[in-house]
Symmetry: C2
Subunit: 483 residues, 2 copies
Amino acid sequence: MTVRPVPVTSVPRWDDEADVVIAGYGIAGAAAAVEAAHCGAEVLVLERTGSWGGAAAMAGGFIYLGGGTALQKACGFEDSVDNMAAFLNVAMGPGADADRIADYCAGSVAHFDWLVQCGVPFKAEFFSEPGWEPMGDHGLMYSGGENSFPFNTIASPAPRGHVPQMSNKKQGEASAGYMLMKPLVETAQAASARALYDVRVQALVVDADRRAVGIRARRYGAELFIRARHGIVLATGSFAYNDAMVAQYAPRIAGRPAASVEQHDGQAIRMAQALGADLAHMDATEVAIFIDPQQLVRGILVNGRGQRYVAEDTYPGRVGQLTLYHQDNTAYLIIDSDAQDEAMASWSPRLMMRPASWVCETVAELEAEIGLAPGSLQATIAAYNDGAARGEDPLLHKKREWLRPIGSPVGAIDLRESTGGFTLGGLRTSLDAEVLDVDGSPIHGLFAAGRSAAGLAAWGYASGISLGDGSFYGRRAGRSAAR
Amino acid sequence: MTVRPVPVTSVPRWDDEADVVIAGYGIAGAAAAVEAAHCGAEVLVLERTGSWGGAAAMAGGFIYLGGGTALQKACGFEDSVDNMAAFLNVAMGPGADADRIADYCAGSVAHFDWLVQCGVPFKAEFFSEPGWEPMGDHGLMYSGGENSFPFNTIASPAPRGHVPQMSNKKQGEASAGYMLMKPLVETAQAASARALYDVRVQALVVDADRRAVGIRARRYGAELFIRARHGIVLATGSFAYNDAMVAQYAPRIAGRPAASVEQHDGQAIRMAQALGADLAHMDATEVAIFIDPQQLVRGILVNGRGQRYVAEDTYPGRVGQLTLYHQDNTAYLIIDSDAQDEAMASWSPRLMMRPASWVCETVAELEAEIGLAPGSLQATIAAYNDGAARGEDPLLHKKREWLRPIGSPVGAIDLRESTGGFTLGGLRTSLDAEVLDVDGSPIHGLFAAGRSAAGLAAWGYASGISLGDGSFYGRRAGRSAAR
């Protein structure tokens, strides 16, 4: 089915219409719906699946916010707009868009307040343990390595992972992302935003001036034409599950989709590209490494040459990126039996504990078992233990609290090919969420947000960036489209 | 000036026309001109500068060919199509396009013969020294690390860097790339291909069926409309000098253009994108490291953690890529005074010899001078020297001939921020050089080759790949457009 633009002159009829038509009812679509409806626009959301939610509803629910939000203050943390921007400019790069980061940081406190106004619950409690997400219903956590090297030398550490509260959180129950989505969708519905489900958007309808005026879609095998009187918001998510696009634009994440949804087929990106829209940061990805941070911090991570390469107590997504991209997706966590026992004692069903792949009495034996170059791991551990005994890590600056010489028996967890992730690139947009063409001009009537659009991340990542910029620029898109 | 497609109905007049109109008179444009003219088409080449040549005429002139070319045989090397493909599938990846590589390798021997028929001279002499290019007028050289680890374990080493011969090669004289371009352009001219210089292509002219039928251009401030009766070939080079495109698509090479020409502004990519053309491998780059390989092989290269990360005797472009992308553009070459003297003795004006930034009596002093973590460099050199004394490099498998324990005095060459390169991504094309839209369908009448198009490289590189696939698919484009 072609994504080529449909001339409005060839549209046989309009099956439905609204002031603002939104493709996709995930985080960006929901935020756009709320804001457009609050601007007085009649809103119609087209969703591919049978319900609202998108990737957001299945996610950990982190929203990356700071600069001194009410939640940060309630948990006793200081932060500022400049401090947040200083961190993001480094952590989202190389190649991060400083203007977008400045814009996002400046609006971050107000965006948190808006989420609260929409009914998103946050509990003023800080979670201080290493982990991908809080073990309980805590509302705030470090989610980007802000308090670890090298970021703790670049900006004052402040936690910015804001997590919606789940009541009676239990294994298998709703994710925190659901608790973000539900109030937003209810707010949109209360403002009379309509939704049509099981609708697959196919192509944009354009007038003679190349203005986007509608969408061609399919529903239960039938063709639908939906008219947008004021504007269209594209918010169908990433291209992580479009194998052809991944091969062309982000081949190094090929075959490793994770933490995303199969609906992320890049459709909105394709529809706008067909109209001459420009792209940005298509090679950017989030990368997870499949091991629990409770283990990571208690061991040392070495590459295929037996060398350390990252402070083990930083954001595990950063560990994943550096492992996949810089170390040929090859890593081993060296951890002694005491440390492994200690990590296991923190066990909960939500964690990703991994057993040791090899256990030996000596490092020399372990080195041989893994197949590392003779002496390589022995030198690495000798140097680490020497520093750890003094409470120092001169090579990588892991925090003192996690430094302890590695003893015997010593094990290794095989972390080869243990990463996965999702794509972060997409349509190039203005700060008002206008989709830009290759001339740098807005395509009239067309807006995008969420992972259909390039956001804050150019290379690096922090948990909460996607729901953060998706909701932030989703609102902008809704407001712009309502005009 | 907009790159948006011009409807043919709004073209005021045709200022010139031909069967095949080619934008850009570098390697791809010249190859396309020859082939289209030989197919009987009337050919017109539009070139931005005052003369033919492009980046090719300023380049080292390598053409990456193999599978048993006449030159390989004359120099006593065996190769096969499968062997060449096995190398390229690894060396051009991750993410390399296996179909394109198979196609290129299968046609490689015949392509060499075609170049010879066009009058490109090759001297049947092999250059065996480390270096970016031959010191004399040798015709063949290893140009991708084929005989180094890990590639020498993946395929049988065969040199594939084919270099046109310069008569009386002297410093400052014509480059080998000029000796490639001149015969091709003369062949095109002999076949009646015309050229118009100082013409800047601006946008494509399209008919109601979205077929490309012409080009809007500028010459000396005036607007020109050029009609293409059969087809258009886009061959204006890379986007390495378009800062905005680099920031969006390949930010990690931003600010480091090298070995390219300022005319590489991405214009053809933009013109086709505006019509809905798809892209591929926009993040791929060639990366040079600014030091002579005669020094590289005689030292050991360490990163900011004092660790070795690449066999120093591999393709220096690979060293550049791994340094820029995997080591935060931070490297130091550790080389003792004897080795430095030996490298300097191989001095010629064409080399990029670098003096030592620091020289010390002991490794411990050098480590402190550089500012590396205490003990890190000492452990690295102890391990290297231990192996080198036995003629082994268990960590990185540098060839035995370059292994020698590092002695005293010991120096280091500061290679931080010492890389530069150019972009390799561009329009997505079929193997017939048709420009593909986001549906995967050919855009009728539109073809592309050279660095306007994505070629063999997805991540890795070898010298000669750009002139290789530029000339190979330039010919395909010329043939396809002539139909």
